[in-house]
Symmetry: C3
Subunit: 524 residues, 3 copies
C-alpha cells in the first residue's frame, strides 16, 4: 500500500519533506554510516538507521515516501539544548520537525533539516507538541490554549529538587492548557545522552498520561528513537517520574552511612587495641597493620553485624504482632523504614564479606606473614625443637575456615538471587525460601564461623587489652540475639499463633477496631 501511493504522497508532502529525505539518501554510504557513528546511537538504533540510509541510497523512490507516510510532523516548543538534541534525534529517526520559538530567525544552532516558526504557526503544523522549556515559563502557553485544544502536549521538564512544587510540572501544564492531552515523557533521558549516546545507561523512558491514545502516540515516538517506553499509568504518576532522575540511590543511604559509621568505630577500636597498645607497652611499630590487618578485622565484623541487622527487624515485627495479637495495626515508623532497606543492608554486608574473603586469602603472600613464618621456623630449627601436631587446633582451624567458606557461598547465592532479573524469575514461595531459609542459614554459618574462630580465646585474659575485648566478640552480640529470638519464635506454640495472625486472625478484634478508629480520627 505505502509503495503504491508513494508518488502521490511524495508530491503532496512537498518540497521540504523530500529534500530532507533525499539528503541522507544521496550521501555516499561511508558518510551515512559515519553520520550514524557520530550520533552515538545505541547499537540497535544505529543499525536500523544505517539500514534505512543504505536502503534509501539504492532505492529512493520506493522507500522514501514510505517513511514520509509513517512519521508525522512533531513540533518542539523551545530551542534550548534539550529541545535541539531531541529534534536532532527525531530528524535522524525520520520525523519532520518544526520548532516553535519566540525569535525564529536567530536560532542558528537548530538542525538545518528543521523548520523554525513562531509558536502559533508551529503548533498548527503538528498533532504532537513537545514542551521543551522550563516550568517557570509555562504561562506563555495560556494565550495559545485555543490552538492547543486537542493537541498532545509532551512535558519533558525536570526540576532541580525533589518535590520542588506542590504538583508535578505535567499536572501544572494540564491545568494551564485544559483542552490539551498532556503526556509526561523523556525527562529521564539527558540531552547529552541523546546526542552522544555512548554511555550505556538505561534506555527506559517513563511515560504517563490520562489519554490512552495520546500516550500511545508518544510511546511510538519513543520506540522509534531506539528507546524503551514504559507505561506508568495516569498523569498522577508524573510527580514520581519527575523525582526519579533526581535521586541518587535513596534506599542505599542508610545502609551505607551505617556501615561507614561502624567501619570508623571499629577502625579506631582496632587501632587502639592493636597498634597503640603495642606501641605503648611493647614499643613496637605495627602501623602497617592499617593496610591489611585492621581492615581484615573490620570487614568481617561489619559484615556480620549488618547481616544480623537484616534479620532483626523481621524478628521484632513478629514480636510486635504476637504482643498486639493482630497484624492490622501499624508498625513503628523506624521499623518500617528499616524493613524497607533490608535488601540494601544485605548487599552492603556482602560487599564487606567479599573484602574479608580476599583480605584473608592474600595473607600468605604478605611480607609480614612470610617473615614471621620464616623467623619462627628458623628460631625453632636453631633451638632444635619441634611442636607436636595438636589435633584440637587442626579441628578448630579447619572448622572455622570451612564454616566461613560455606557462609560466604550462601551469602553470594543470596546476592545473586537479589539481582533484578533473577528475583523476577522466581515466584513468591521460591523467593521467600531463598531469602528466609537460606538467609538464616547464612547467618548461622557466619556466626558459627566467628564463634569457632574465637575458640577458647574468650576466656583468655590476654585477649583483653585495656579491658577492650577483641572486635569479633563485639560483633557476635547482635547475631546471637537475633538467632536466639528466632529460635524462640519457631517454638510450635508461638509459631502457630504467629501464622494465624498473619493469616488475618485477631486475638482481640476490639483492639484493631479501636486502632482503626484512632487512625480515622487522626486523619479527619
Amino acid at each position: 500500500m505505502p509503495v503504491r501511493l508513494s508518488g502521490f504522497l511524495h508530491s503532496a508532502l512537498g518540497n521540504r519533506t523530500s529534500l530532507q529525505l533525499l539528503r541522507p539518501a544521496l550521501a555516499p554510504a561511508a558518510t551515512a554510516s559515519h553520520q550514524l557513528e557520530g550520533t552515538g546511537l545505541p547499537r540497535g538504533e544505529r543499525r536500523r538507521l544505517s539500514a534505512q540510509m543504505n536502503k534509501n541510497s539504492s532505492n529512493i523512490m520506493a522507500l522514501a515516501p514510505n517513511t514520509s507516510n509513517k512519521r508525522e510532523t512533531v513540533c518542539i516548543f523551545g530551542t534550548g539544548d534539550f529541545g535541539r538534541a531531541l529534534g536532532q534525534k527525531m530528524i535522524q529517526s525520520g520525523y519532520p520537525v518544526v520548532f516553535g520559538s519566540r525569535s525564529p530567525q536567530t536560532s542558528n544552532l537548530i538542525p538545518k533539516e528543521a523548520e523554525v516558526l513562531s509558536h502559533t504557526e508551529a503548533a498548527q503544523k503538528a498533532a504532537i507538541i513537545i514542551i521543551a522549556i522550563q516550568r517557570q515559563h509555562y504561562d506563555f502557553l495560556t494565550p495559545l490554549a485555543e490552538i492547543l485544544r486537542g493537541k498532545v502536549l509532551v512535558d519533558v521538564s525536570n526540576n532541580l529538587k525533589i518535590n520542588q512544587y506542590p504538583e508535578s510540572n505535567a499536572e501544572y501544564l494540564a491545568q494551564l492548557v485544559p483542552g490539551a492531552k498532556v503526556v509526561k515523557a523523556f525527562n529521564t533521558v539527558s540531552a547529552w545522552a541523546l546526542q552522544s549516546g555512548t554511555l550505556d545507561a538505561s534506555r527506559q523512558v517513563f511515560v504517563c498520561g490520562d489519554d490512552m491514545e495520546a500516550k500511545q502516540m508518544v510511546m511510538d515516538i519513543v520506540r522509534a528513537l531506539g528507546l524503551t517506553p514504559l507505561d506508568q499509568g495516569s498523569l498522577l504518576a508524573a510527580q514520581e517520574i519527575e523525582n526519579y532522575p533526581l535521586q541518587l540511590f535513596p534506599m542505599w543511604k542508610f545502609p551505607i552511612f551505617l556501615s561507614l559509621g561502624l567501619t570508623a568505630f571499629f577502625f579506631f577500636y582496632c587501632l587502639i587495641r592493636d597498634v597503640i597498645y603495642s606501641y605503648v607497652y611493647e614499643n613496637k611499630d605495627y602501623s602497617f597493620f592499617i593496610a591489611i590487618s585492621i581492615p581484615n578485622r573490620i570487614c568481617p565484623v561489619v559484615a556480620l553485624i549488618l547481616l544480623a541487622l537484616v534479620y532483626l527487624p523481621g524478628v521484632l515485627a513478629a514480636i510486635i504482632q504476637l504482643y498486639r495479637g493482630t497484624k492490622y495495626s501499624r508498625f513503628p515508623d523506624w521499623l518500617d523504614k528499616w524493613m524497607l532497606c533490608r535488601k540494601q543492608l544485605g548487599l552492603v554486608a556482602l560487599a564487606f564479606a567479599f573484602l574479608h574473603v580476599f583480605y584473608t586469602l592474600i595473607i600468605p603472600i604478605r611480607y609480614y606473614v612470610r617473615w614471621r613464618t620464616e623467623d619462627g621456623i628458623i628460631s625453632k630449627a636453631l633451638s632444635n625443637k619441634t611442636d607436636p601436631f595438636n589435633n584440637t587446633n587442626g579441628w578448630l582451624s579447619d572448622s572455622y575456615l570451612a564454616l566461613g567458606i560455606l557462609g560466604f557461598f550462601f551469602f553470594v547465592l543470596l546476592g545473586i538471587t537479589s539481582l533484578p532479573s533473577v528475583s523476577n524469575s522466581v515466584n513468591w514461595r521460591e523467593f521467600r525460601f531463598v531469602q528466609s531459609k537460606l538467609g538464616y542459614l547464612t547467618l548461622i554459618l557466619c556466626t558459627a564461623h566467628t564463634l569457632v574462630y574465637g575458640g577458647n580465646r574468650f576466656l583468655s585474659p590476654s585477649s583483653y587489652r585495656w579491658y577492650l575485648p577483641n572486635a569479633y566478640m563485639l560483633s557476635l552480640i547482635i547475631p546471637c540475639i537475633v538467632l536466639i529470638l528466632k529460635f524462640v519464635l519457631i517454638f510450635p506454640c508461638l509459631d502457630r499463633q504467629l501464622t494465624q495472625i498473619r493469616q488475618g486472625w485477631e486475638r482481640n478484634p476490639q483492639y484493631s477496631e479501636q486502632s482503626h478508629y484512632i487512625i480515622n480520627k487522626s486523619a479527619v
Copy 2:
C-alpha cells in the same frame, strides 16, 4: 479536560468518594508519608502515593476530582484476608471499593473507607468484581448470573496442590457464570506482601483472559497498585498461572538431589580411603579432614561429573539422530527430561566448583598445612639436606593450577551468560556459541586440570588403598567418555550427516512416515 469537569463530577460522585479523597488530603504531610511507609509499598508506588497525597494536601479541589474521575469503583466478593488486603491496597491507590459479603454487618476488619453490601448490591455498583473466595464456594455465584452478565470477574484464587482440579479455577468460574468476562490475576501476590510489602520479591502479576478489554481494565488496576502486569494470553493459561505460585524450583530438584547423592557417595568413599584407612593401618587420627580436606575432594569431583552430565545428553541425542537418520522421531522420555535441566545441572556444578576454588585457596592458611610445612622444613634443616628443584614437578604443579584457573574462569563466564537478563540480550547464534563452544572448552580445561593433577599417580600402587582408586580418578570417567564421543562426532563425515539431519533431511523417510502412523494410531 478532567479539571474542567471536576466540579460536576465531584458532586455527581457523591459524598462517599469525596470523603474518601479528603481524608488523606487533610492529614498532615507527616502522617501521609508515615501512612505510606507503613503500607510497605514498593519504592515507586510509595513515591507516587506520597506525591499524590502531598499534592492533595496543597491543591485539593483541582486534583481530588481528577482522581475520582480516573478510578472506577471496584467490587470485592469475600471479606477474607486476601480480599481485605487487596481492598486496602486499592483504596490507598485511589479506587472506591465495595465489598460484597454474606453478612455485611459483622465484617469489622474491613477498611473503614470501603462500603460493605450484600453480593447483589455490591455487584451492581461496579464493572469489575474481584472474586476473593475459595473455589469450593463458587457455586453461590450461579444465582447471581444475571447480575454478573457483562461484568469483569477477576479470579484471584489459588489451589493447595499443583493440578488439583481438572480445569483451572478461572475456567471453572467462566463455566459457572457464562455471561461474564473472566480474567485471572493477582494469584501470584500474597496478602502478606500486599500489606507489608517489604520483601523484595517479584512484583509481576500474571494476567490472562479471553476478553481483551476486560484484561486491559484489570492490567490498569495492577499497574495502579504499583505492580507489573504481564499479559499471558487467553484463559487457557490460567492453569499454568495457578500452578506457578505452588512450585518450589521444579527444574532444580533433579540436579540438587543428584548432586547431594554424589556428595554423600564420595563423602563416604573419601572417609574410608583417607580417615578410616589411616586409622586402621597407621593408627593416626585424621578425623579433622572432614572439615576441609574431604570436602575439597568431593567438590571438584562432583563439579566435574555434573559438568560432563550437562554435555552428555546432547551427545546421546546426536547419536540417536544419527542412528535413526531423522530428527522427526521422539527422544526417549528420560533424555528429554535430562536435556531440560541442563542449565540447572551446570549451575549446580558451578556452585561446587566455586566451593572447590575457595577450599583450595585457603589451604596455606590451615593450621595442619602450616604445621606440616614447618615440620618438614625443620626436619630437613636438622638433617642438613636440601631437595634440588625438580623441573617436571614445577611444570606439573603450575600447569594443573593454570588449567584449573582458566577452567573456573570460563565456568564463571558460562554462569554469567545464563543470568536471565544477559541471555535475553544475546541472539541465538551468540547463545549457542557461548553455551556450546565455551562450554566444551570449560569441560576440556577442567578435565585436563584433573588429569594433570593426577600426573603419574595413576600408575602408583600407593594411590590404591583397599583397591579403591582416588576419587578424582572416578570423576574422570564420564568427562572422558563425553569428550571422546564429541570428538568422534565432529569428524567431517558424521558432522555433515548430523547437520543435514538437523536441517530436516531424512535418511529413510519411510521410517518417519511409519512412526508418524504409529503415533497417530496410538492417539486415536
Copy 3:
C-alpha cells in the same frame, strides 16, 4: 460466552478441527505429558499445554470448542524445515494449520494434523500467511497478489550475510505484494529451537510491521507459542531484525582482538625477559614460568591498559570540545567507535583482572614457590642468620595488596552494574555516578596498586634486562596519562567551560554554523 456457543461452533468448524482437537484429548495422560516433554517447550509453555491437554482429556466438550473458537487457521507457504517446525509448534498450541505447497501430494514430512493444499487454496483458508521460503523464490507470489490482498503476510526469512540485499526481505515482500500487510517475525528463532527447544536461549521474537492490527495478530500467535514478542515498530526495522541473528558479538570484536594483541605482545616480551634472558645468562630453565608466572604478569598489565583505554576517549572528547568550543561538531570517526565499545573494553579488562586475582591467590600453593621458600629458610637456618623485620617492606607489601583488593572490589562492582537488569534499574544520575566516579576510583586504585608494587625498583638497574623494563612499567604509561589529563580537566576554569559547552553554549557560534554548512554541502 465461548462455552455457550461451543456446540454450534464445534459443528460449524467441521470435521478437521474437531479431529485435531480430539486426538490429544483422547490420548492417555501419560502420552500427553510425554508428547510435551519431547517437544522441548519452555517450562511455562509445557505446563500450559499440559494443562490444556489434561483438561481436554477430562472435559472435552466444554473446552475443545473454546480452543477452536480462539485460534484462527494459519497458512504456511513452504514445507521446508522451518515451515514444518513452525507448523508443528502451532498445531501443538491449538492453531489449525494449512500448508501451501507447489506439490501438495509429496510432502510426507508435514505434521499429520495439517492440511496440504496448493498455494491458492491454502491462502484462501487463512487471514495470516507465513512465508517460510527463501527470498530468491518470492517472485512466485506476484501472480497470487489478488488472493493475498488484505492478508497478513509474515516474513520469517533470514539472509546468509549482513546487509546482503539493499532492502530487507520484508520490505521486498511488501513491494512484491503491495496489497498485503507485511509483518516481519520469527526470524530470530531457529527451527531446531522450535522443535527441541531445550537450549535456554532467548525466547524473544522481534516483530515489526506497518499495520498495527496485523502486527497485533502476529504477536498474539508468538505469545501463544510460549515466546515473547517484542514490538520493534514499523517495517523500517526489518533490516535490523534480519541482521540481528547473523551477528556474533559485534561490539566485542575490537576489545577482544585488542586484548589478544596486547596479550601476545606482552607474552613474548615477558618470555624474552624472564625465560630466555635467564637461559642465556644464567643457564637456568624457567620454561615452566609459561604456565603461571608469565600469565600473571600479562593479566594485570592488559587489565590496567584496557581499563585506562575505557577512560581515555572521554578525556579526548572533552579536550576536543574545549578546543573547538562547541559540542555541536562531530567527533572523529575512530573516537566515536572507541566510545561505543567502552563497556565491552571494561568487561574484558575485568576478565583479565579476575584471572590476575586468582593467579595471584594460588601463588603459595605452587610447587616452585613452596620449594623456593623452603630452600631459602633451610639455607638461612644452616648459615645461622636471620633477617630483621623491615618495616618499609611491610608497609609496601601490605599497601599494594590492599590497593589491589580495593581496586578489584570496585571493578567487580562496576561489572555488576553493567549487567542489563541492574543498569535498567538505576536512573541516569546513578548510572553516571557509578560509571564515572567509581570508574575513576577503580582506575586510581589499580594504578596506585601497580606503582606501589613497583616500589623503588623503577630506579634499580637490575630491573632492566637487555634494556627492557618490567612489563608493569609499560602498563603504567596510559593510565598515568589518563589520570593526569583528567586531573587537569577538573581544574575549575576548564571544568566550568566544559560544563557550559555540554549544556549547549558555544564559544564561537560561527564555527558551528560553518561546520553545519560543510556537512550539508558534502551531503547534497
